[in-house]
């Protein structure tokens, strides 16, 4: 029974990994690709690892540690990447024209 739940979880995890890959390919510009890649793969990792925990109950502590580590590193690194990309001015797709970071920086600059 535990194996069944485990394998379902791993399957969902794998699906999220696949969607991450698909997002990386299909998304229009750098920023959207980044967020797709990060969010989907982090969730995918968590699901696969929890599924594994069901397979080998003995490893749960190590797996939790790994999940914690992935949760800490993946989003932070993509955040730093996106910020750097914005700094060197990589264009954004779409005509929404909303750029929260740029507005925040302008307001910070206008009244220090």
């Amino acid at each position: 029974m535990a194996e069944l739940v485990g394998s379902i979880l791993i399957l969902i995890g794998a699906f999220f990994h696949f969607s991450a890959g698909l997002g990386m390919v299909r998304m229009p510009d750098a920023y959207t690709r980044m967020q797709a890649g990060t969010k989907a793969s982090t969730l995918g990792n968590t699901l696969v690892l929890t599924g594994l925990a069901f397979y080998h109950p003995g490893w749960t502590l190590k797996l939790v540690l790994i999940i914690y580590f992935v949760l800490m590193t993946n989003p932070v690194s993509s955040h730093a990447l996106a910020r750097a990309a914005h700094f060197i001015g990589i264009p954004m797709a779409g005509n929404s024209g909303i750029d929260a970071l740029r507005d925040a920086q302008q307001t910070k600059r206008s009244d220090p």
Binding site: F69, M72, T73, V76, H79, A80, R83, F87
Partner: protein
Amino acid sequence: MRRASIVFAITFFGLLFASVAINHTQSVSLWPLARSYVELVPRELGAPNVITGILLNYRAFDTLGEVAVLFMVAAGVGLVLGRQPNPTVADPPETARPSSEIVQIATRILAPLISVFAAYIIMNGHISAGGGFQGGAVLASCLILWLLADAQFQVDVKLLGLLESVAGVLFVLVGIAGLIFAGGFLDTRVLPLGQLGAFFSAGAIPILSLLLGIKVGCELSVILARFRA
């Protein structure tokens, strides 16, 4: 014309590699030398991880040469980049764009985690997978994270240089101890082998692994610090 000659050269090498790949049959059993290593290392050196056993005892001379290579690279990169006008004048860290606070906080959380992991790899080199080189690399990655996160963070190159040469000298001293007490130069059976798989076992291999880890960690950080400057 140049591109055509490049294509011709690459296809030739492709053919050559193909002839190698086709005729490569997956080996079914170990070579006699490899087989004796697998048997000898746990028994003679008391180290479960055969690779670290080879690296730090039988082929320790290679590793010593290896360490000399890294040592020279650290000095060499210093020499090559040494003459740059002092970077602090060009873009002083103060004006360097500070990284966002998310990254700084994450670093403060992650750094101890990474260094503990590095220590684990170094000290368990002879028991599980890992060893001096790999641990040193992880240690250096922790330092890079710190360098990236905090622009003002200036690594003390002088101290690292000192640590590095002390580790090197100790490494050679352990080698000489092997020459005097045990079978030959760089022989790790200087200390008791202890129980297979225990933390303090396999003669001087853990000590060498520790020295190696520190040395590689410091050297990579020195190189990276020099690159950043």
